[in-house]
Structure formats: structure tokens, C-alpha cells
């Protein structure tokens, strides 16, 4: 009964307003995103001091643009990871979307037809992934690995594996869309900012967002409480593919041409970005801001390897190790919390 009295003494407002994490600073330092953000800032400062090539306008322009591509796809990947899934097909969706855009425009059609067509193709891939996972219960790893192969192959069939670099009447519009800049900031960065804010809004402020976290936390509970688990899952895979599709369109404009090796093994950087940004591969945890910060850190490190004269062959080693280390850190944290 003593327990009851304790409950009575605490006033209602007090109980409602009390947070699990007391101090704002301890809340901040308990966030992986914070440490990754710090790491990225330190890396930038160090590089500016050590090399005289990092802090140049040209280099920063390139870094921000490159990280925007990984960041946009990582937003979608984060959603998939939150529901406890994985999407290995994003790199292939990038090339499929790019190729649909390129081929449509090369055939003389306007950009406002080509882009929706490319995004529709991307969404179709996401729909397929989602239906296979949600209704036929195929493990997401298997479905999206298969689609990784299928989507790239379709892009090859579509283009006959040739490079496309003539985009018809709207050629210049496409190049400006993905490769241009406004106020000194490359266009893909604007897309990243808007999409990240949108994703953050959806995650935090909508029922859909609440439901994806619930599915990742306990799918059985989500089903029992009446959440439409299957349609939410499908929408998440479609969202991931849409992000990849948008990136595909922007990348054609940036490169000024498409070849079928575009986006190859991009899924690895994207998963690394999401995981480094705090998304938990076991599901239920992740943020839009984390995906952006994770992508930024990866791009800064990748860039630093080049500037420091380390062979680009090492990049895969770094990105791969990042995924393992990020997951390892999470493991350590969980086992410490359980002690």
C-alpha cells in the first residue's frame, strides 16, 4: 500500500511533465546523432587545417552535392530500417529512374513527362517490394536483393546498355535541375533539405510515422491494436523507392549522361549513412536528421581519403567497416543497458 501513497503524492501535472532523461545535456549526449554530428564537424575542421584543398569553394560544393544524393536515399532507407526491413534495391532504382528519364527525353518528350514517368517506375518497384514483403512474407533481404538485379537489368534492356547523353528539347532544363546551383548551393542540396524536413514531419507528427515505429518495435502488437500493418509496410517500401527515384533524376542532370553502372553498390553507403545516423537495424529506431548527418559524415570521410592522397580502392573498406562499427556500438550499448 506504501506504493500507492507514493503514486498519490506525485501530482498529475508533475507526472505528465517529467521526462525520462532529466537534463537537456544528458539527453543530447545520449543521442548517437549528436556524436556523429560532432565527428563530422571535427573531421571538417581537421581537414580544413591539415589540407588546403578541403575548405575551397569548389570542393565544398562537390562534397555537399555528393552527400545530398546519399542523404536523400538514406531518408527512405531509414524508414525501411525503422519498420525492421532493409532495401538493397535502391541503387538499382536510381539507375532505372535515371534511365527512364534519359530515354524518355532522348526520344524527344518533355521533362515534365519524363520525370513523372521515372518516379512512377520507381514507385512500381517499391510497390513490388512492399507486396512481396507484406503479403507474401518473403524476407525483405531476399526480395530486394532479387530486385537489385532485376531493376538494373531492366535499365540495361531499356538503354541497350548504351550511354545516354542527348536529352532532347529539354536537355538544358534537366542539367539545371540536377547539376545547377542557386545562391551558390547545388540544387540537390535544396531537395535534400526539403525532403528531410518532410520526412522528419512524417516521422514525428503523423499517424503513419507513429505506426512505422510501432511496427518496428513490435509488429504483433501493431497488428493486435488495429494498425494496418501491411499497407503501412507497402507505403514504406514505396517511399524508399521514391527517394531513390528522385535521386536518379537529379543524378542524370548532374552527370549530364547516364550509364548503366550508375548507383552501383550505392545501397552500401546508404545503409551505412542510415545506421551511422542512429537507425537501428533491429527496427523501431531512426530519425530523418540522423540519415542526413550520417550521409554527411560518410561523404566527408570519403572526400578526406581522396584529399589525403589515399587510394580510392580503400573507400569500400571504410564504408563497410563503418556499418559494422556502428552496429557494434549499438550492441555494446544494449548489452550495457541490460547489465
Amino acid at each position: 500500500m506504501a506504493r500507492e501513497e507514493v503514486g498519490m503524492v506525485t501530482s498529475l501535472e508533475d507526472a505528465i511533465s517529467r521526462q525520462t532523461h532529466g537534463h537537456p545535456l544528458s539527453w543530447l549526449t545520449s543521442r548517437q546523432t549528436f556524436w556523429v554530428f560532432l565527428a563530422a564537424v571535427i573531421a571538417c575542421v581537421t581537414l580544413s587545417l591539415v589540407t588546403d584543398t578541403f575548405a575551397t569553394e569548389r570542393n565544398l560544393f562537390n562534397v555537399t552535392r555528393n552527400f545530398a544524393f546519399v542523404g536523400i536515399v538514406a531518408l527512405g532507407m531509414t524508414a525501411v530500417i525503422i519498420i525492421g526491413g532493409i532495401d538493397l534495391s535502391v541503387g538499382s532504382v536510381v539507375v532505372l529512374s535515371a534511365m527512364v528519364t534519359g530515354m524518355t527525353m532522348a526520344a524527344g518528350y518533355p521533362i515534365y513527362l519524363a520525370v513523372p514517368l521515372a518516379l512512377a517506375a520507381s514507385l512500381a518497384v517499391g510497390l513490388f517490394n512492399g507486396v512481396m514483403v507484406a503479403f507474401l512474407k518473403v524476407p525483405p533481404f531476399v526480395v530486394t536483393l532479387g530486385v537489385l538485379s532485376v531493376a538494373r537489368s531492366l535499365a540495361m534492356v531499356l538503354s541497350d546498355n548504351k550511354m545516354v547523353y542527348q536529352f532532347g528539347p529539354d536537355h538544358q532544363a534537366l542539367l539545371t535541375l540536377g547539376g545547377g546551383s542557386t545562391l551558390g548551393i547545388p540544387h540537390p542540396v535544396y531537395f535534400l533539405v526539403v525532403l528531410a524536413l518532410g520526412t522528419g514531419y512524417f516521422f514525428r507528427w503523423t499517424r503513419w510515422g507513429r505506426h512505422i515505429f510501432a511496427i518496428g518495435g513490435n509488429e504483433q502488437a501493431a497488428t493486435l491494436t488495429g494498425i494496418p500493418v501491411r499497407s503501412v509496410k507497402i507505403s514504406v517500401y514505396m517511399f524508399a523507392s521514391l527517394m531513390a527515384g528522385i535521386t536518379g533524376v537529379l543524378e542524370v542532370g548532374w552527370l549530364g549522361g547516364v550509364t548503366t553502372n550508375l548507383g552501383q553498390s550505392m545501397e552500401l553507403s546508404v545503409i551505412a549513412a542510415a545506421v551511422i545516423g542512429g537507425a537501428n537495424l533491429a527496427g523501431g529506431i531512426g530519425t530523418a536528421f540522423g540519415a542526413v548527418v550520417g550521409a554527411a559524415l560518410i561523404e566527408v570521410i570519403r572526400n578526406s581519403l581522396i584529399l589525403l592522397g589515399i587510394s580510392t580502392f580503400w573507400q569500400g573498406t571504410f564504408v563497410g567497416s563503418f556499418i559494422i562499427i556502428a552496429v557494434l556500438f549499438d550492441r555494446l550499448r544494449v548489452s550495457r543497458a541490460n547489465d
Binding site: 521526462q19 505506426h211 504483433q220 501493431a222
Partner: protein, 246 residues
Amino acid sequence: MTVLALSGVSKHFGAIQALSDVSLTLRSGEVVGLMGDNGAGKSTLVKIVAGNYPPSSGEMTIEGRNVHFSGPADARSAGIEIVYQDLALCDNLTAAANVYLGRELTKRMGPLRLLNYKAMYDRAGELFAELKSETRPRDLVRRMSGGQRQAVAIARTRLSEPKIVLMDEPTAAISVRQVAEVLNLIRRLRDHGISVVLISHRMPDVFSVCDRIVVLRRGTKVADKAVEQSSPEEVTALITGAIETA
């Protein structure tokens, strides 16, 4: 007043007779302990009431009206809520988020529909206070004790002003102190005029909180009596079949 009445309910799965001719009434504010060995038909009975599957024969009425459920949603809208054995909670979400899972409150802001965090925290806090639980709406379920988790699962049933709450083994896997907490939660529900069906293997729990005990054996009801007129020994004998009926 009779809230729930089952008359002659049977259920068979192919050749297996899971329930035969079970009749049962539940008055408002009554706590009934449903006991029986594994395979005695407890969960079949609960699943019929919860709308998971229809009875093969027999009738079910709620407040005198005949009901036929085609799914759990029907049962829910008829005022029946269930606390599942594993509680159906998401560890990664807050207590309030779990209470409102699948029924989140939203508010309009221009063209947007935003989650109404404040309303959900406030109402969840009220529900926990009503249950006299220390659970805090903003805490993550991951960091909660077994008793607090039960409070979250029970608070969830209170959202819709239910008539009947079915509880499946709520005290099966928690510590002794937390068991007392859960039994108090059940009394709290009863005080609000809600009828509770408690499925449990734990004799002390049933005898301390229930008004009436119903014992099932091999799909038939072998006892239905007030706790004062029974004893743990008698119930054990009824469950195992040492006594035929009482």
C-alpha cells in the same frame, strides 16, 4: 445487470470439440476467474468473446442484445477490450503512445493533421492516475517494470469506456510485488463498473480478486460458483478432474 451472457456455446475444429454447451453470465462490475488446465477451452472461449472466431453453435448477448462478431473490431465496438498475455506493447514507444496505439489523436493545423501529443499525454496521465499507477506518460515502455507495463496495457482498454475487459494470464510472468499491483489494477477496473474476465493459473490471485470462479475441463463448464463458497483445494480438484462437478 447482466452484461454478457453465453448460452449453449459450442466450438469444434473439425473433429475436435474444443467447447461444448457452455453457458455463462457476467454481471456489470463483476470479476470472474476463468480457470482450467491447458487445453480445457479457456482460450477458445475468450477468443469467441473477443471476436477472433464465431461459435459453432450457441448464442451470445451483450446487455440483452444478440451479437455476432465477424472480427475483433466488432467485439471492440461492442465494448469488449482484451489485455493480451504478452501485453502487445511496443518497447520503443512511450507509455502514452502505447495507450493510443492504433487510435492516435490528431489535431488539424491548416491542411495538416498532426499528432496531438499534449492531449494524448494528458489523457494517458489521467488514466494512470485513475489506476493509481506510478507510470508516467512520457517514459519509454522499455524502461518500465512489469507492473507498469500492465498498467499501460490496462489503461489502453479504458480509452473506449469498455463494458468488459478480458485479461489473459496477466500475472503469469511478473514478480510478487508486481502481482499485487496488477490485482489492484483489476479492482480499479471493477470500481469503474467494468466487468473483468481473468484467465489465470495462479490460485491465490483468483481467490483474492475474483467474485466468482468458472472452471472448464475438456471443453465443458464443471463449476461456476462464488469464491466464498469454494476453496483452492476444491478448484484444484475440479481442474484435474478429481471431483467431477461442483
